[in-house]
Symmetry: C2
Subunit: 715 residues, 2 copies
Amino acid sequence: PFFSVGVQNTHHVFPGCGVSSSEMNPSELKLAAVYVSDAQYNRNVFFNTSPQCVRLYMLYNHWSLQFLVYVFIFVDLALALFEDPAFVPLPLWATYIMELICLAAFTARLIHYARIIPKQKFWKDPKNICIVVVILLTLVDMIIYGSLKAMDYHVVRWSRVFRPLFLVNVTEGRHLRRAFRSIRNALPQIIYVFFLFIISVLMFSLMALKLFGKRDLKTIDGRSYFTNYGEIIFDLYVLVTTANSPDVMMPAYNSSSTFSIFFIVYILINTYTFMSVFLAVVYNNYKKYLKEEVRQLVRAKRQKMVRAFKVLQEMRDEEPVVMQACWNQLVCVVQPNITNAHRELLWSVSDENKRGKMAFLQLPDLLNIQVITLKSRTHPLEIWIPRIYSSSASRLICRVVQHRAFVYIYDFIILVNAVFIGLDEENSFFSYAEWVFLGLYLLEILMKLYTFEPRAFYARHQFWNCGWVAKDFKMFFFFFFLKGDGYNGRQILDIVFILRVLRLLRVVDSIKRFRAIINTLVKIGPTILTFGQLILVVYYIFAMVGMELFKGKITYFENSASPGSEYCGNPLLKGSAFAKNNYCKNNFNNVWSSFVLLVELTVVNQWHDILFLTNASARIFFVIFHILVVIIIINIFVAFVLEAFFVEYTFSKGELQTSLEKKIEELELGYRTVDGLLQRMFEADLSPEDNADDEDPDNESPPGYNFPNPSYDTI
Amino acid sequence: PFFSVGVQNTHHVFPGCGVSSSEMNPSELKLAAVYVSDAQYNRNVFFNTSPQCVRLYMLYNHWSLQFLVYVFIFVDLALALFEDPAFVPLPLWATYIMELICLAAFTARLIHYARIIPKQKFWKDPKNICIVVVILLTLVDMIIYGSLKAMDYHVVRWSRVFRPLFLVNVTEGRHLRRAFRSIRNALPQIIYVFFLFIISVLMFSLMALKLFGKRDLKTIDGRSYFTNYGEIIFDLYVLVTTANSPDVMMPAYNSSSTFSIFFIVYILINTYTFMSVFLAVVYNNYKKYLKEEVRQLVRAKRQKMVRAFKVLQEMRDEEPVVMQACWNQLVCVVQPNITNAHRELLWSVSDENKRGKMAFLQLPDLLNIQVITLKSRTHPLEIWIPRIYSSSASRLICRVVQHRAFVYIYDFIILVNAVFIGLDEENSFFSYAEWVFLGLYLLEILMKLYTFEPRAFYARHQFWNCGWVAKDFKMFFFFFFLKGDGYNGRQILDIVFILRVLRLLRVVDSIKRFRAIINTLVKIGPTILTFGQLILVVYYIFAMVGMELFKGKITYFENSASPGSEYCGNPLLKGSAFAKNNYCKNNFNNVWSSFVLLVELTVVNQWHDILFLTNASARIFFVIFHILVVIIIINIFVAFVLEAFFVEYTFSKGELQTSLEKKIEELELGYRTVDGLLQRMFEADLSPEDNADDEDPDNESPPGYNFPNPSYDTI
């Protein structure tokens, strides 16, 4: 255990580094900075501590390289748009070259990573092995596909299914891996409920077979009703998703009113109760495993800071201590663009604690705090034209702008504008009025800029700048629109319309209660992005499989007069609900329409109709999709929103604040990152032992964790 | 404050009442018993403490009178089946007489109640005033309706809407009132989110109008697409419920693939995020207010016990004490059918605490515990025929039955039976096989009865007795079926089929993990009943309003050949989706079909099609229903299931146990009532101050509570 009595009394220490900055070993400083930076961004890479490796590692973490990796992943995933079946067809050699470039980039990145960490570590990590295997498989598939295609055989491009694995297993995909791991760990519990649910569906199906099978009932399209056990199971499974309600009930209900009881009981048990139980189980288990992950995260972070401390420490009064000068240098290396004022603020916050270690350990959290310096700067106009700016007329303008009524008047103007937007169909008067509104908004901006210091104005309206930006965009596009014409002008007009409507958000924001709710929603935004990646991975895999299975089975005809457009080019669909509802564009003929189709399946309604081919393989595909996406992933999403709101409720009552958070609130600062939110969610539940650094130094790998990333090791 | 040092050392007290039982004032004992019983069942009635009133109050609480009240409420509500528009038409005088009898019963009950409590209390309670007003209004409505009907005018029977208020405001409807009160208190918070949600829908509608309105798109049925702002708002509101997905998107999507983005963003924000936020807000607020209610409940219960203690107390060693003899008498009065063993067990549990007051205060909780005496009784056969029963052959049978393989074999038999049930369509072999299975099950029961002591057997299988009972029923009905024939026989056969399938539950129960989940579901059963009442009240009101508004607009023709059956007898519906889908039976022509229709609307799917008349009033009716039932009540239901599962998870980890619960667990007892579950849900959150009895005795009404029931007063 390090520093178990690590209370640093910096007040007795001469302000200024004991060791002069030239004496400070730059490689050691870099090492410490890397540890701090790792802790700040929750990286869990066990790199070699040799100076060369540290330099390589810093390069590896450079934002430009990380950005490049994401660009290549994006390009690799987007290739599906150009490959057969293509949204925008490109020749095979073009996509092959693009794919090879991407693979080369991933390989280069992997080699870079391999040079940073010890060899045996590299090959122990399944994430690296996974990338190597996927690269090799992709190459093999490309060769097979290319050569067989050249010989005009029908081939399947199966390796595309693995592409999302790059997104998951790239070093930066921490949040995504954590989410997948939590899902995987929560699965066993979910599966028990799922089995019970399936048994319930099977039993009800058996009852339905017995109750309705022999009554010679007919569905609307004349098929016999509830006579085939397999069909009944499928129909009742669809009823759980409510997609075929009340159609599935109508034949029985028409035959006798009492039969409705069967369906009501079924819906009560399977749709309402079991789906709620799924939510409860998914929520509870996902949260449990996520909490465990966050606990490990916090522990790893503290260990890294302990290591950094060990590198920088000096002995003063028999106690290990980090001096302010070293601390300053460290912060400068970690965040080169930090202002002096910001750095001094951080030091004062750390120092106020009077507990050296704890304050040092909190450094990464402090660095994550977004500091907005709201100094009351003098308005530049006051410097340039002091006489005019301080005249009584000028002061009156400032007082008008600062008055509450000014805000109300502009809110009212926006509402009037909204009505005009709704009406401006034909009358040219309304389009002229739009110019008046534009002028009014410009006037508002100018008056505000006149009154408030520009930087302060910008900082205050951070989120709602979108409205501002919207206006800029608008004027720009209006200009374009008046010049351009035809279709291009129309698209721009669309954007202008949307931006005009977004103006209304400003009015909503001016109501305090609404702002609280919106702020919570904005706060969970970054987490929802992680969630979006999760969905993207699952959608991509299903889209690839679906395209191989179903491409070309349905055709959408732009021209509704062309033969076959009535049944989507597939004679099997003649007279089907799919063709009748004009769903022909819901097909797997390219990535974009596959994604839209999968979104429709996630929304669940009409999914049994979108099942355009009623053969068993299509059903299995869709049922698996439903279980994975709707029952598991959507429930996790709901659980996340629930938890975020509960935390917000608890937090607003001040029950959950840590001492650090309290201090931040006093300083009126705010911070929010995905990990920050997660940590706060579970802060109350994390046991205080996690603060202790008495990890066994010989403990090479975290026990009981079969998936070693994020893994960490003690020095 | 009473008994702030109320530690009772009963070990020093001679076992036996200090005051002999003849000296014990019977009216005082009765008063104490009434307090205990009130605390046990959480009644909050401020009755007069005069002996006569206490006697009247005990009569008032007698189960038979309470049962009668529920019978009359049921009859009153069921009258809608026989009134115009009737399910089973009855002449007006018949329903009038029945209604008058019900009203007389409610009046009698109210007069009984008025004689128990002080007059000024009676008229201060809105629940009593509500009943009086509803009775008077009903009488007025009956007179108006009857006289106008006699003159052949068209009249509306508006007072039927108030009937569910009897269910809510009857003294026993505590849980229901509490639920309504919690909803009402949670409303303000919900409304803010709802406004924000509506603003979001309005803004998206405006964007949709601008984006799609001028493109001359057409829907499938040839109407112009997204040109009318009001229609767009309705369509997009329906999209939030997912009922018209993907139809509402198809015209835009067919026109350009990029337009799908608009709908995807809309669904993401409004369907997924806002609906989750609704769940979060409903959950959080409902729980908060329910917690406050439970806190009041616990406080009221403790106060009642303090009063009971005060009545029974004697001074021993300067300390107020209740002697065991008094305690015994009290328990005997509260629960006349209690066994001696049970009473002694309760005493020992109370006494073990060595804290007189606390143990006495816990008495109602203890009485609510269901004690199953699992004494190892001797098998009656061993007494009657000891020689045969202890023979080696007999012992072998017992060992076979107790063996695990015996259970597995019977599970297997049931599964085989399930397959046979699925197959027994035509082949007579299968129906004979059914007799074999029946024989096997009978054999099982007999063997088990032979091996286990009957009472122990019954106690062990409490829940799963349903399977047992099912079998009894089955044999009974089979017998009937073989005798009866025609339609009657068919209905019985239906029940037999269902019961046969329910047998499968036994196999599910034999798997431990499944049993845990099922037990949780069974435990929340009583709460779901309260919930069912809540739904019933809302459904009933909507059914009454709907019947007055829409009765007779749709006709269902049993004979599909009759003219008008194609368009449900309403020429307006010619060619509509409603008629095409054969929804004619989804109408408001009688209570039963109204209820089924409301269930379908709760399930949400196709509700815009079930909106058979697209005029504005119908839309308003259904949107209000959707907001009330789907957004608020269903979310509360989901919240309840969630909370119950969370409590179960926490409880199984033993974090939430009170000392009493721990003791109960040691004794392997279990208890569950609605209030018990609620109390346990919030036990961790209830502050310890609630234990204190230092309520201000002059505090006539609970502060800050504008709805004074359940109110309580100190002595």
